[in-house]
Amino acid sequence: MTFSRRFAETFAKNRITMLGAGPMSIMVTEEIIRLANLFRKEIAMIPSRRQVDARELGGGYVNKWSTQTFTEFVRKRDKGGFVLLSRDHSGPWQLAHNRADGSVLSHSEAMDEVKSSLEVDIKCGFDLIHIDPSQGLKLGRSQSQVEDDALDLLEFCQNRATADTEFEIGADEQSSVPDLVHEAEENLSRMLMRIKKMGLALPMFYVLQTGTKVMETRNIGSFDARLSAIGMLPAAVQLPKIIAMCEKYGIFLKEHNADYLSDSSLLWHRRYGIHAANVAPEFGVVQTREFLKIAQEFKQDWFIDAFSKIVISGGKWRKWMLDPTQVTDVERVEIAGHYHFSDTEVIELLTKLERNVQEKGLHFEERVRSTVSRSIQRYLEYFGYGLGPR
């Protein structure tokens, strides 16, 4: 049975929201695999190109994994086959905007680059690929050119992939409000018509903005707002229509940026019938926070100082900042710590921290793992994976 058929039977029919989880670290990756096998339901593992990419393109920042080594790592541990390898945001300029000399990659260079990345994804047997050329919009390409790029990439992939490979189209522009239904429908029906005309298989998922937006360590979109915010269309108005529209076109809705949502918002994912939702940075932040918490509890200030220095000077926190921001340095470290877990210096710091606290009786890895696991499990329980409150 194909995954899309299985998904319709297992998830959509039972109103279970499938979790797309970012492999933010080795530990997060291992816990995603373990939990998918424990719950015996698929979790989509959703590496971005910056996290994991083809060896030929330099790999990614998570454990310095290439697509090839990452695939091997996951498949070897995923005994029940419950992890879907799902490329997130694959498109031109998604890995890098610039050449080594700082000039912007041309369109053809960026398309060639993403195709070489996609080729490896397909060879490695990725189950789901999100085609997202929307970075082009920031570099002057029109909506119609971006759609052309999406179709070009979809055709490229489908000519190489097996019939089991599924695709996801559409982009979340990290807006804080849901897409307008009539605009989303115009875009979707136009794309689907063009896909059919080209004789390609229809994508399985459509990414639409549902009112989730991650900044700092909060979800500031309308979905989770306690009050209807001025200027934001309430998610409750748009979401049921967006889902009905997706169902009308035989496509599943994939929400992005579901990090940090409240329990109540997660519960409503099932009630609204959101088919799938992606969560990524939160899991990395949870792991970093636990490192810092342990260091504080065991008075390992040297770790906090040295780790913080690396993370603050690394600047990876910048893209998550609100403007203006009130974030402290500690929070900057929490936000961006995971980008540095594979830095040699940080590995040494963590090894020393682990040794020191173990001497004082703490099982370091177990404690961190259990915290990370709980944060992933919260989503699974509210999304209806089986052992939770509903």
Binding site: H182, L227, I230, G231, P234, A236, K241, S264
Partner: protein, 266 residues
């Protein structure tokens, strides 16, 4: 010809209230303009005042829109006015745009519409209303609103002299609940960009002491805390989404039956 009366809710902003009253009076189809006074100091009571609550509670805490508008509507009903609509305005409303005569004419043949909600600058519904300036809606923000006299009279005949829930003091989801009251009675609400008001928040942000209310942030906190308690007491749940769900389903039934009246705002 379709006409309307206006009730403006005042608390300690006499000049602002009377300036707004003058603006409204100049509108085509405007008839009477009256003021509801929510416990203002004597020197801030408008000469246009129809009814005044000067009880210690109102003097110290004000009335807010549910209690204030209800008080005004009760007094206004005793005047037996022959108008079709009643415009309810907080006094910090500022008129931005109006094609009111045309709007009222367009609605004159649809008695099922019992409330008209104007937009405000930056209102997300405006993008939808560019194509269809009058659209059915249900999740509407609290603020200026036109309520049909027909609906008000029907409620009073039904023995209910409260259009809004006075127990919802700070107005948490007040108009969402109004949607429920209307749609479950087979009445509809339209949103429109043919009438647009701006809320001048500077009074709340900068002059809350003069008005006699809490600072803005404190007011927001109380709105959430007391609002959640109101929701629990009234509906048995504290999750606003459950109320949204209920209203949406009731709305969808109205659209199923009367969908041809106006397109839906989505």
């Amino acid at each position: 010809m379709t006409t309307f009366d206006t009730l403006i809710l005042n608390r300690n902003l006499k000049n602002v209230t009377e300036t707004l009253a003058q603006t409204i009076r100049k509108l085509e189809r405007a008839d009477g303009v009256f003021v509801i006074d929510a416990g203002s100091r004597l020197d801030e009571v408008s000469s246009l005042t129809l009814v005044r609550d000067d009880t210690p509670e109102a003097t110290s805490m004000g009335l807010r829109i549910a209690r204030g508008f209800n008080l005004g509507i009760r007094s206004w009903m005793q005047l037996n006015r022959e108008v079709d609509w009643l415009l309810l305005l907080p006094n910090d409303s500022e008129l931005e745009h109006e094609s009111l005569a045309e709007l009222l004419d367009r609605l004159s043949n649809t008695p099922q519409i019992a409330a008209i909600v104007p937009t405000y600058p930056g209102d997300p519904y405006q993008r939808i209303l560019e194509k269809q300036p009058i659209s059915l809606g249900w999740h509407i923000p609290e603020g200026p609103i036109l309520v049909s006299t027909r609906y008000i009279k029907e409620r009073f005949l039904d023995g209910c002299d409260e259009i809004f829930d006075s127990s919802n003091f700070r107005g948490f989801l007040l108009y969402l609940e109004l949607s429920l009251r209307l749609y479950s009675n087979d009445y509809g609400i339209v949103l429109t960009n043919m009438l647009r008001f701006r809320e001048n928040q500077s009074y709340l942000l900068n002059e809350h002491q003069l008005i006699g209310t809490e600072p803005y942030s404190e007011n927001q906190r109380l709105l959430l805390d007391e609002g959640r308690q109101w929701l629990i007491d009234k509906f048995g749940y504290g999750d606003r989404r459950a109320l949204e769900n209920l209203v949406r389903l009731t709305f969808e039934e109205f659209v199923r039956v009367h969908g041809k009246l106006y397109p839906e705002a989505s």
